[in-house]
Amino acid sequence: MDYNIILKIASIGILTAIVSQVLKNIGKDEIATFVTVAGLILCLLTVVNMISSLFDTVKQLFLIY
């Protein structure tokens, strides 16, 4: 597990912020909210995968069945 997962999530956040800003300016407000929600869901998916792998390793390590 290396550290670039943090930078990836931060870049997704910044990207969604920019895209939603641009979409708001050209008048497409609904699509801006969709982009924001989609970016957030993407980050949550990656974090949920990390959480599940952490729980698996903790189960093996601490003998919790």
Binding site: Y3, I6, L7, I9, I14, T16, V47, M50, L54, F62
Partner: protein, 128 residues
């Protein structure tokens, strides 16, 4: 396990989380969770060496494997509740963090009940 990489990742997480808090407040918690995850994954292999060493010691010292596995379970529960409650406190809702800590204590006491019974059994057997 080199401490410098861990400190670097921790400081990187702090900086990125404060940055992302300004741009997009929703991603603050996600960045903190992923940063602490990375640090925990760095610790896993050294923890496994420590535990294997202690299991060898406990088997040599004659302590029952049941006792040692319960201690490991209690450690794991404490480890996870500490992790979750600190993230809740960081993200602003301390009440949920306290509830998680309370739940962890309850689970640990439930795990400790068989040890207490065996302890009392040995004490009563020692009495004349």
């Amino acid at each position: 396990m080199d401490i410098f990489r861990i400190i670097g990742v921790g400081l990187l997480t702090c900086i990125v989380s404060t940055l992302i808090k300004v741009i997009k407040p929703e991603y603050f918690v996600v960045v903190i969770i992923s940063g602490s995850m990375v640090i925990l994954f760095m610790l896993i292999d050294s923890l496994s060496t420590i535990f294997s060493y202690f299991s060898i010691l406990s088997s040599k010292a004659g302590i029952g494997y049941e006792l040692f596995s319960t201690v490991l379970k209690v450690l794991g529960v404490g480890f996870l509740t500490e992790f979750a409650s600190n993230i809740c406190v960081d993200s602003g809702n301390a009440s949920i963090g306290d509830k998680i800590i309370l739940a962890g204590k309850v689970v640990i006491v439930c795990l400790a009940i068989p040890i207490i019974t065996s302890l009392l059994g040995t004490i009563t057997s020692l009495l004349p």
